[in-house]
Symmetry: C2
Subunit: 345 residues, 2 copies
């Protein structure tokens, strides 16, 4: 089969690898239909976070090709969404919403286990990991939105849940990457009344508005803080979503959160969280790798009933052979998020 | 009147000062009955946090002597509990549980405004700040517990609320100071089933057990972490309360919290919060200066009906003239918390 390979910073290739086979009775083999490139893949591509040489990509949807003898609930032929972490969903950590800590879990495309950016993936813990899409004809638009549930929309939703977004709330989203845009959509879905999106890029602003942003703030740093405080009558945001992870974004989130509120943080923090200043304002920080598997069923229902369309974040697409272009487009900020057509459904 | 005065690190005196008078129609004058010394007063005493020369002490109960023309709900002769922060309870920040951010608020004994460690206190925003105790005879034990509501018990409760303590939970409390002990009591009151208290001091262990601790961990650092993980079958605590503020306490809290849980942090952080490691385990941090005014009414009911007895944290007492001994006893760890008898009720 063909699969993307991470050769080191700046170098993504496509190679021939053996097709995966069932190794454990709890495995399934999935033929990938659509995959995409994550913001975290970009950290690896840019050499800003380490990644093993080898398989890459952890977001995909596909069709089940084979199941191990202990896999129930998932059948050959099912269209499935794979959360970016596989997990047993029965350990204490999964039960507490932290699949990243599952002792039987792991992540796709980490150098050894198959990546989503390839033709086939062996999925461990398949019964508890994969979510089957109800049978039927699904439009290309729906498939793109289902793909987004694998990570980016689940992560945006995690930001909103961690920030405690409630109906009627005034919220702010720091970061106009695909995760930040999905946080806007998640906040809207959770009933936020006013959604302030920090964005200065016209293409991203358009998606933010389509997702429900009510106010756009183009400023950065102190000027952004001033503007958000102006928009909130000096109070700050009821719930703040930090979807970047850089020092500046973290500082901005800290400054615009209202006293007594929570900041949902889902960007891997590459800067120091300024804990002492927020402590005196009773502001809390919560977040981490999203429990995508937990969130997917409800989000999937809302994709199918047309309530949400997170697939709008994909504004560049190519095929597996041109995967390096998918990375380059995001690296050069020509794309919000790149989709990879791996095979027809 | 006589009042304690902070002259600088290591020096607490008692001086004659003019009695306070009503300065604003929203003021009240309270004659102090009982006061006490806070762990944060000790930071000042030790020179580890700055404090202006002048009035000191922010925990007291007393009797209302005079009220301004706009003070309703509080009458001359009422026995009242003063939360350590005065606030208007009507601004957006008070409404969101962050009285420390109230634009009309402030703290007692900050060098200029009267301190609780004195015979009389002018209380700004009296109607929204003071909580009247229902009339009646109250035992000395009850009065001590009412005094504890002013700060230490409200702060322990804030740790438990911020950590998300729920009925049936297994929780851990880092810190066996008066706040940590009150966090044990608060966790018990909120229905925690198993309460692990980190303490190696016999006097404090006794109070922890009286307050509902089910397990005592005497180890520190990595050994404490190992022991808590052993007690929780490797999972960690469902809710963790950090009631010290030192680097070691913060690190221990981070290590014993279970993935997906919250750490309630109420010790003013004097160390760095290790945010990145907890991020990957989906652990959140929340806390700050307690919204004591918000918590006092329910806690007061439970003091009066005998459910809680936070006054047990006072194991040293003296009178106002000997206030420096109250500090010394805590500084030398001879006392958990020092009570100051200012006047008979």
């Amino acid at each position: 089969m063909r699969a993307a390979v991470f050769n080191g910073p700046g170098s993504i290739g496509v190679i021939d690898r053996g097709e995966p086979v069932l190794e454990s009775p709890t495995d399934a083999i999935v033929r990938v239909v659509l995959a995409c490139v994550c913001g975290s893949d970009l950290w690896y591509y840019r050499g800003e976070s380490p990644h093993a040489v080898g398989t890459i990509g952890h977001e995909f949807i596909g069709v089940v090709e084979a199941t191990g003898s202990q896999v129930s609930g998932i059948s050959v032929g099912d269209l499935v969404v794979a959360p970016f972490i596989y997990s047993d969903m029965s350990c204490p950590h999964c039960a507490n919403g932290s699949m990243a800590s599952c002792p039987n879990g792991g992540s796709f495309g980490n150098g050894t286990i198959d990546g989503g950016q390839g033709q086939y993936v062996r999925v461990p813990q398949a019964a508890s990991t994969l979510v089957a899409v109800p049978p039927g004809e699904h439009s290309s638009e729906t498939l793109r939105s289902l793909l987004a549930l694998s990570d980016v929309m689940a992560t945006g939703h995690h930001a909103a849940v961690s920030a405690g977004v409630r109906p009627g709330a005034t919220v702010a989203v720091v970061g106009d990457g695909a995760v930040g845009l999905c946080a806007v959509l998640a906040a809207k879905r959770l009933g936020a009344e006013r959604i302030i999106a920090l964005s200065r890029n016209p293409a991203r602003q358009r998606v933010a508005l389509a997702f429900g942003a009510t106010d756009l703030v183009e400023q950065r740093g102190d000027a952004a803080t001033e503007r958000v405080l102006e928009l909130t009558k000096g109070v700050g945001a009821d719930a703040t979503m930090e979807c970047v992870g850089t020092s500046q974004a973290i500082e901005t989130a800290a400054a615009i959160a209202r006293p007594g509120s929570m900041i949902g943080i889902v960007g891997v923090p590459h800067g120091v969280v300024p804990f002492v200043p927020t402590f005196f304002r009773n502001i809390g920080w919560r977040g981490g790798p999203a429990p995508a598997r937990l969130y997917i069923p409800a989000l999937l229902d809302d994709v199918l009933n047309g309530t949400i369309n997170p697939g709008l974040v994909f504004d560049f697409e190519t095929d597996l052979e041109h995967v390096s272009e998918a990375y380059a487009a995001m690296d050069e900020r020509r794309a919000i998020k790149s989709l990879i057509r791996v095979a027809p459904r």
